[in-house]
């Protein structure tokens, strides 16, 4: 299996690096070099850049401490890392809520003929962000985690399920409900998942 989303030309899988780190702990830095930027970006979108720095850093410290329990049958460590990051982000629930509230306020004064513009792909980004931020704030955390792991971290449903250590069916239904809420927020009805 080819591991994607990696920076650099290395052909070693994440699992290879983690296995090597059991003998040469400094090899874990190669995993850091591959994924730090993405973990940081994900945390920054959810919490802002100040907290993102700490969350991203702690994600790798925790991952290193838990490397012995990593399932070597999973070449791609992204679900594992994003799972750790998700747990850390959950500790900052209030900060995340405040962030969405702020983003919602920024977009709340702008008016747009929602449905038509959305369908045509012409919705103003600020307005869309405001509406989505409000919906994200209201969304139960469990559903928000799955939604954002897919939308912002780029994981698929199965990977999001693995990240959050939940059954694939649970991830699917949470994602379905969360997408429905996003569509409602955008005023685009409740058509099926795409």
């Amino acid at each position: 299996m080819v591991v994607t989303h990696h920076d650099g030309p290395s052909t070693e899988t994440d699992a290879d690096l983690i296995q090597q780190a059991s003998r040469s702990p400094e090899r874990f830095a190669a995993l850091f070099d591959r994924h730090y930027r993405h973990i940081y970006a994900y945390a920054a979108r959810r919490l802002g850049v100040d907290l993102a720095e700490d969350v991203a850093s702690e994600t790798f410290l925790i991952a290193f401490d838990r490397r012995g329990g990593y399932d070597a049958g999973r070449p791609d460590a992204r679900p594992w890392l994003y799972g750790i990051a998700s747990n850390l982000i959950a500790r900052h629930g209030r900060a995340e809520t405040r962030r969405y509230q702020t983003l919602a306020r920024i977009g709340s004064d702008e008016l747009v003929d929602g449905h038509d513009d959305l369908v045509a792909g012409r919705i103003d980004a600020g307005v869309a962000r405001g509406r989505l931020a409000r919906a994200l704030e209201r969304l139960p955390r469990a559903e928000r985690d799955v939604l954002l792991l897919v939308a912002w971290a780029g994981l698929n449903q199965q990977e999001a399920a693995a990240a959050l250590d939940i059954p694939a069916g649970t991830a699917r239904s949470r994602l379905h409900r969360a997408r429905q809420e996003m569509r409602l927020a955008l005023g685009a009805g409740t058509e099926g998942d795409k």
């Binding site: 940081y40 720095e53 700490d54 702690e58 410290l61 290193f64 685009a188």
Partner: protein, 329 residues
């Protein structure tokens, strides 16, 4: 464009981490991968004017979590070993520690950078502190009571414990008292060689739980022993792994420098806190403070504790290895 695409695009492009942040995180990870194998760096010896107020204002202000220092009883402390603050701050694992865990990681990272030379068995751990205590008359009447504002005294405590555990000394009213293990006097101690091996938090926690001749409280260990940097760092990380460790967000200004308290709740109403320098993350003291009202019912009477009562307040002023009892440098 479906809602997922809008969700991706509406919140803008991914943020790139600042290079300094990436470096901090990478350094923290590399430190974690090499416990106990940190490069020693020269430690800057600085003069820290230590000013501890013995006034009512001290204890009273401590009640609300902020100690205002009065310029009384000024004590000058020379040669207190402190981490070099500027480089530490520049590369700390967490630039804005938001939790006890993150703060303790910074403290561990800082501790691990102290210069160190493994002591010989015949050398001594020298620990010096200033302890705020009630007046003697008050202590005799209520030995376990809270500090009473306006009726406190500052006690300088100096102890020397030989690395091999065979000699202990203390300063008693200006006179050095040296005691040796023997047929008439003996005490239990934690073998230093055992402590020196505890270079990971897992080792510290396993050791803490293991049966021993002496009871061990990790907080007290830090206050009573001069530990190798890697061990001190491991103890901080072990404490961070404990349940219920919380960051006291109130600034506690115990001796003129900003401080932060990290504590655990005991008996439901008391907070046992380690105090850290807010800027350098060095351990600078401890205190025991009530965080809730409480009623103690005893056979010999009932007593009431008010939230904010301070029971113990200690500033660490020196911690180093010396050659002889009585030496302070």
């Amino acid at each position: 464009m479906d809602e997922m695409a809008i969700l991706r695009e509406a919140f803008g492009p991914e943020a790139d981490p600042p290079e300094a942040a990436r470096q901090r995180a990478r350094t923290a990870l590399l430190e974690r991968t090499q416990p106990g194998r940190m490069q020693a760096r020269p430690t800057v010896r600085r003069r820290w004017p230590l000013r501890v107020g013995l006034t009512a204002a001290v204890a009273a202000a401590a009640v609300i979590g902020v100690v205002t220092v009065e310029n009384l009883n000024t004590v000058e402390e020379r040669g207190v070993t402190r981490p070099e603050s500027r480089p530490v701050v520049a590369a700390l694992p967490y630039a804005h520690p938001a939790s006890a865990t993150e703060f303790l990681e910074n403290a561990a990272w800082t501790a691990a950078r102290k210069s160190w030379q493994t002591p010989r068995p015949d050398q001594f751990m020298y620990k010096e502190s200033r302890s705020l205590r009630n007046t003697k008359a008050l202590e005799d009447r209520a030995p376990n009571g809270p500090l009473v504002p306006g009726r406190t005294r500052l006690m300088k405590v100096q102890r020397w414990d030989r690395i091999d555990g065979q000699v202990s000394a203390r300063m008693d009213e200006g006179k050095l008292v040296v005691e040796r293990q023997g047929s008439t006097l003996s005490w239990v101690f934690v073998p230093y060689a055992d402590l020196a091996e505890l270079t990971t938090p897992e080792q510290v926690l396993a050791w803490e739980k293991a049966p021993k001749d002496v009871g061990v409280d990790l907080d007290a260990l830090l206050g009573q022993y001069v530990l190798p940097p890697a061990v001190e760092a491991a103890v901080f990380r072990a404490i961070a792994k404990g349940k219920g460790v919380r960051l006291n967000p109130d600034a506690v200004n115990i001796d003129g420098r900003p401080a932060v308290g990290l504590g655990q709740t005991i008996e439901g109403y008391l907070s046992q806190e380690l105090l850290f320098d807010k800027e350098t993350y060095a351990l600078i003291g401890e205190r025991l403070v009530a965080i809730a009202n409480h009623k103690n019912v005893g056979d010999d009477g009932t007593s009431y504790v008010r939230k904010g009562d301070v029971f113990r307040q200690v500033v660490y002023t020196a911690s180093r290895i010396v050659d002889n009892p009585g030496d302070t440098k």
